[in-house]
Symmetry: C2
């Protein structure tokens, strides 16, 4: 299948599930009192988002249960032992966690824009944004309790969710720490990416294994698929931050450079003699021009750092896809392979 | 028993359990990498705290299981059906949630001091404090998963924890909202106190019921004990904020007045003709003197508002204690009654 045909297949699979996920978010996280708190909590979720993690979760469930693609009610989904599970609740829970982390990260990074709209702490205020994130945090746990899976599996799903959240916090702490360190090693960066980003993809791909009652080897293989693909996703995101215009990104191009974030790209460049701290010769982040970003990116490209990052992401995707061999051969399985490819081919 | 003897009995029961709870916190939340994140997460927990909620939880477990006071390992505690439960893990989980809420509340309220030491966002920075709170949040869920209760009860404990956290966020949102409203009704204030403060006491008192396998009526009665006592606790806290010197409080005396927080005291005063917004005639919170606080408190005392709050707290304690009739008669049961009395008699 050509890259274009593959991309269309993925986008259509994601889009079809996105509609259902958006409806489910409204059902599982309706507006309620205190009004302003729930408005702020729902603001970013309502502002859009591709719903990639829910799509991965739902496709994994379909591949595992070996059902015809898009044929089955995700709220009453057949497990592997004759029970019925609400896998959609777990998909909503993961998206709600994603939203909570974005809200708090934007406060910590003092980012103004997200998904093309003001960040929650800009649209409301920092206090409200902290509290909106905290509310989504517990709501995600409440929603994960609604899968109606047998109790042992339900507990395992809660464990996965809790450990995932802890890892995300640890990853964010490393990310912030790296901003002021000049001696970050590539392995440390990969650990940070695993904790901050990849574990949530891993949770999305492994939760159907847990909830539908797959064996331990399958649950682990699905986890590793998400982990590798999630790492690739973040590395590709780092590349996009450098190469895609702001209006397409929905946030400032080159924001990682401006904030002195370490990425695979800048670590590779530093190793190859580029003075990364000096790429942007301004002290005022507000004053960085598109031309300065473009010049910095050209230097990174010339030294091979952007190509290096792309290659690394490709390798991780290949590794991730190999873990899918535990799944039956079916259309959903194919789509999960294509999603992995898409994540490192997408242009925004 | 005299008030003094009762207070000594309570303080000694709380103190004996506090040592064990502190050890358990170190076991269940050890320092780890990233170091700064876990240091900040543990900072407030290590700074002290009375461990009232864990004490209520452990005493409730002892009363329910009808064991001799202080005789039983909380890590291997007998349930009502011949199984062994780690009730200490649930006590630690509740204290960790309490710590998370204090860290985030102090950021939102811009409070400088807590437990006599700088608030986490002052000792570290706001970003680290947000992340430390987020880390404690998921850790509390991880720790609650370690009780080894049968899966159905374990899930119910997780549900209680998640719903409690949501309620605390809702209560904090109402509290912040009330600061800029002049038309807060007493019922709204009581709802805020229930959500912000009382539900965590209720969680502490009901969790042993859930984990040890008590019947639904007992679980509900224990919840209501904690709820009423928790409301009384907060109302008494509001009184203490006005009447106790800063050095004894561990934070600025009168901070609620300075921040224009609504309390039962100020709502009563407003209803009786006091212009509460005008009690402190300064626009700069940093400039408020002890004398000004004293004058404001005198006005509140003269109109009967402080006595009104004390009476209300006493009524709630009586109501709370009545719910304990579901428990067997034993020393732990008596201690829980005394704890309720102590919470509205304590001087800081």
């Amino acid at each position: 299948m050509s890259q274009n045909a593959r991309e269309q297949a993925v986008l259509s699979a994601v889009r079809e599930r996105r509609e259902l996920v958006n409806d489910a978010i409204d059902e599982d996280l309706p507006p309620k009192r205190p009004e302003r708190l729930y408005e702020a909590s729902r603001y970013l979720l309502k502002a859009g988002g591709k719903r990639l993690r829910p799509a991965v979760l739902l496709l994994t469930a379909e591949a595992l249960a070996d059902v015809e693609l898009g044929s089955t009610d995700y709220r009453e989904f057949p497990d592997l032992h004759g029970e019925v599970i609400d896998v959609m609740a777990s998909a909503v829970s993961i998206e709600v966690i994603q939203s909570f982390t974005l809200i708090h990260d934007d406060i910590m990074d003092d980012d103004d824009l997200r998904r093309g709209v003001p960040a929650v702490h800009r649209e409301y205020d920092t206090e409200t944004a902290i509290l909106a994130g905290d509310t989504l945090y517990s709501k995600a746990f409440e929603i994960m309790l609604r899968t109606e899976a047998p109790a042992e599996r339900g507990l395992e799903a809660m464990r996965t969710l809790a450990e995932t959240c802890t890892h995300i916090c640890e990853g964010q702490a490393l990310d912030v720490d790296f901003e002021t360190r000049s001696d970050v090693l590539p392995d440390e960066y990969m650990e940070m990416v695993e904790l901050k980003t990849a574990v949530l993809f891993a949770a999305a791909s492994t939760l159907p294994g847990i909830l539908l009652g797959a064996d331990d080897d399958t649950v682990e293989a699905l986890y590793n698929y998400g982990l590798r693909v999630g790492q690739a996703f973040q590395i590709h995101d780092d590349v996009l931050d450098l190469t895609v215009p702001s209006e397409k990104l929905g946030k400032q191009r080159g924001s990682d450079l401006v904030e002195n974030k370490k990425t695979v790209v800048t670590l590779h460049a530093a190793k190859h003699g580029v003075d990364v701290g000096d790429l942007l010769d301004t002290n005022d982040p507000e004053e960085v021009t598109d031309e300065e970003i473009e010049a910095a990116v050209a230097e990174l490209r010339d030294v091979g750092s952007i190509e290096y990052a792309r290659d690394l992401a490709d390798d991780l995707v290949a590794e991730g896809k190999a873990h899918l061999e535990v799944l039956p051969e079916n259309e959903a399985h194919t789509r999960l392979e294509q999603v992995a490819d898409y994540l490192v081919e997408r242009e925004y």
